[in-house]
């Protein structure tokens, strides 16, 4: 059977990985290829690179990063950030990325999902959603622009729309949990995973191995993503997988 996936996420700015990576064994903690290799060796099932470059030049550098990673590694990876048009997808996918992740641009113009899916196939198109609980609405709301802007879309409606437009996967981040290390948002993940028939990657809130077990069993996630706990070596992909295996969760 298909295994549950563990996905470390790396933020890349102007071609360099940022946000305190503390791997002791690395010569250069800012080199995306070197970090990617370290995660590959730990048993990461996939990688996500989020381009947080502010400049046009920085975006161009991302193509070199993608080529570098694709040349060195034999595991799949997704690139998100700054992908606003079909041309951006072509640039990144032709450089060797396996998937692109769309966030704000897809909310602003949902047709972009269809365009990407028709050109590259649905499996290449990940729709990333920043979700925050809305007390008044009694459900989760979609936020854009890195979580700074609230939208009129509700998460459950939006995932269904995204899936029908051709999204191949959902990358779901709980803004309420992000950075809290108190565990993934199980209720949100489960609600989304049950609302659509495409794989869901849970993100936001990972603090330890037990949180991964929870999000796979109760949250029904297909994959789980984390950044800081891996970067700061609070745990490793290997450790998380050993724990999951012990708990009867099918991992590679």
């Amino acid at each position: 059977m298909l295994t549950k996936r563990i996905i470390p996420c790396l933020d890349v700015k102007e071609g360099r990985v940022v946000k305190g990576i503390q791997f002791v064994e690395l010569r250069d903690a800012g080199d995306p290829v070197e970090l990617a290799r370290a995660y590959d060796q730990q048993g990461a099932d996939e990688l996500v690179f989020l381009d947080i470059s502010a400049s046009h030049e920085g975006r161009k550098t991302m193509v070199d990063v993608v080529q570098g990673v694709a040349a060195e590694l034999a595991i799949p990876f997704t690139v998100g950030g700054g992908i606003n048009a079909l041309e951006d997808m072509k640039r990144i996918l032709r450089a060797g990325a396996d998937k692109v992740s769309l966030n704000t641009a897809a909310v602003l113009r949902p047709e972009l999902i269809r365009e990407g899916a028709e050109y590259f196939g649905t499996q290449c198109i990940v729709v990333a959603i920043d979700a925050k609980w809305d007390e008044e609405a009694g459900t989760w709301r979609v936020y854009t622009h890195g979580g700074r802007k609230s939208t009129d879309k509700l998460v459950i409606d939006w995932v269904k729309e995204a899936a029908s437009l051709g999204a191949g996967e959902i990358l779901l981040t709980s803004m309420d949990r992000d950075g809290e290390k108190s565990g993934f948002n199980i209720a949100l993940t489960k609600a989304v995973s049950e609302a659509v028939n495409i794989p869901v990657i849970a993100s936001g809130g990972a603090g330890g191995s037990e949180h991964f077990t929870e999000v796979f069993t109760e949250g029904k996630a297909d994959a789980a993503l984390a950044a800081s706990i891996f970067h700061y070596e609070e745990t490793s992909v290997k450790e998380v997988k050993a724990h999951l295996k012990n708990e009867g969760v099918n991992v590679r």
Binding site: L2, P76, L93, G168
Partner: protein, 211 residues
Amino acid sequence: MIGIVDYGMGNLFSVSKALERIGVPYIISDKKEQLDKTDGLILPGVGAFRDAMKLLDETNLSEFIIEQADKGKPILGICLGMQLLFDESEENGVFKGLGLLKGKAVLFPGESNGERYKVPHMGWNKLKFHQDSPLTAEVHADHVYFVHSYFITGEERDALVASSDYFEEVPAVVGKGNVFGMQFHPEKSGDLGMALLKNYTQYVQNTEVEV
């Protein structure tokens, strides 16, 4: 020398880089006269079946690939490239494939015994070997990376080298004579993927093709 068929679809970069890592010379080309001089072909592919066949037909590459297969040249189709080797696909209608292997690509139903399941089949799944093949020499069954919504059914049993379980028996490695396919992405499947790819290139090296 391996010829990667460039018909405008597919992730040529990662396939070619994978060949570089195992030290196998290759060319990427859409020109028959160049591909004709190679010892074996790789047909990559990402995207929709119909678009891929249309491109292959427009460039007369479909005819060329069939001729090459007939004269014994090794051919490896990867992912969509594997599905193209079969008779037909039901992806967005019914479309004819290259017909080098018997069987067709159908959509995962997304439901099994009343239980819904996710489509695409995306992620790492374990291979189960059914018979010996030059592709699987000296490798152990482990996980490989799949991403696909359609799978092959109706294949000849003696063409099924390995399968994976995803609510259906999913043909993962197929092979008949000099025609091979891998439904997963060997170039994205870690050490096992690289070993399988290497086995193919080894097979190509050991195969004499009449010119």
